[in-house]
Point group: C2
Chain length 119, copies 2
DNA sequence: TCAACATTTGAACAACTGTTCATATGTTGA
DNA sequence: TCAACATATGAACAGTTGTTCAAATGTTGA
């Protein structure tokens, strides 16, 4: 009764000024969610492989399945997510759809990621 | 019987040379997995907020809970993942543990990510 | 028009993830 | 030593995700 969980307990060790100042500098919820979302799209091994495969060539779904060692259906599902986040673009040539990287951002993000991984 | 799924069907549209050349240029499984792993760690909104909060100050778990609006337990679980990937470091001062960014890689990765998001 | 094929889509399932709650660990000051 | 507190940890639960299988689109050449 005397010690409620939200009123006292969790306020005891807080550095108020620092917290207030930090909150001021925080980006909006929209931005943090957008960042989390793009990293989520990049957080799957199959999708990483697809993006690496597209680094030098445009490739069709069949090719990507062969390169990454997954089924065409699986690749297609992944490509849908990559398309939704504008990480890849595509063009149709007859029955075949060729995918390629949307821009060079992906490669730069990868470089930074690799920089952290291999340090 | 005549048309087996792995023998013929999925080999029909493949551009063999391009596929072979692309496979040559692919990074190792270890590398793609490591990349996927680091992006997975960055793919959660709470963890993104924690890292942004640590951009200017070192902060204790309580502070981080207040800034991010989550429970201390939740923050602590997230910090464990961030520690495991060497994205944050920490120092103990009495009962309080202060966390800070491990290096400037995180910020650079964020910059690239934001570049893609806000374009 | 039709068969063949490349791709996409949807449902279903197991595996994984984030949060909460309860409990444990460490640290301080009395 | 002990209570108080900051943090960490483990189990459990709902929600999400990646894959597979089956079926549906497009698209071409006959």
């Amino acid at each position: 009764m005397s010690v409620e969980h939200d009123d006292l307990c969790s306020v005891q060790c807080i550095h108020e000024e620092k917290v207030a100042a930090t909150i001021e500098l925080m980006p909006s919820e929209d931005i943090t969610q957008a960042l989390a979302h793009i990293f989520k799209t990049l957080s799957d091994n199959s999708r990483i492989k697809i993006l690496f495969a597209l680094k030098h060539n445009e490739l069709c779904v069949c090719d990507l399945a062969a390169v990454t060692g997954s089924s065409e259906s699986s690749v297609s599902h992944h490509l849908r997510l990559l398309r939704a986040d504008k990480l890849v673009k595509y063009r149709r040539e007859g029955k075949v759809v060729y995918y390629s990287l949307a821009d060079e951002h992906v490669e730069k993000i990868f470089e930074q990621g690799l920089g952290h991984v291999t340090e």
